[in-house]
Amino acid sequence: MIEWLSMGGYAYYVWMSYGMLAIAIIVELFSLSARRRRALELVAQTGEEANFAEEAT
């Protein structure tokens, strides 16, 4: 295992590359779910405003 992780002396380069890909994907997945949450809040908000408008008229 240790030998495999050492990547024949290239561990730093190999794992820096794969590590950054992992970080990039995690960041994108978080931003995707955050954007979805914001979009759903926005839809709910405009719905409430429309309801208020209906009640007012």
Binding site: G8, G9, Y13, S17, L21, E28, L32, R36, A39
Partner: protein
Amino acid sequence: MASGLFRFSSPASFFPLAGRLVPVFGWLAALLALAGLYIGFVVAPTDFQQGESYRIIFIHVPAAWMAMFTYLVIAGWSAASFIWNTRLSAMMAQALAPTGAMFAFVSLWSGAFWGRPTWGTYWVWDARLTSTLILLFLYLGLMALRSAIEDPRRADRACAVLALVGSVNVPIIYFSVQWWNTLHQGASVSLTTAPKMAETMLAGMLVMGLAAWAYTIAASLHRVRSIILEREGHTRWAQELMR
């Protein structure tokens, strides 16, 4: 036929379809990535020249392919939004940009960490590297331009122009290793000649390439659903979704 194609070009009917496709492509991406990493780290032999450092290839090349291809897809959707004036095409172009930028960044980053042990430097201003950096800037430019224009329909048209003009950069990246003397090596895989690498190495790279495809499809479909809600959230069908 035409009505069948255009049926899903309305955001209201595409929204549920995209919702069903996201988990399919998401799981496909995960399984392909696992298979590709297994081939890349377990099955593929050590390179006789570069040792284990070459294993960066299994993310570097698929990321670079995906970054270039995604830009062409964005240009295609942009052209479609120009020609048919379909809102969904522009939304798809918008949804693909962040994922394309991510892959462009990963290809530059992994290339730097591959260049250091093989060339002795993280970065050179060589044609392949510089044009890929421009690709990353084009992606960032598309996203910045989008957020700078308030009216979404005007933003669609401005971004479509930038996407179409910027697409000239993709063949420059692809052929840069032939047109100029570059430190970057030439293509190891091409449609016209036999691949210059071991079969298992090639297999690992192709499977990781397919994983990148599936991931991009899943991520962009997930994002386009949010974009549809952001832009069409006031409409009756979107409001009915919330009940």
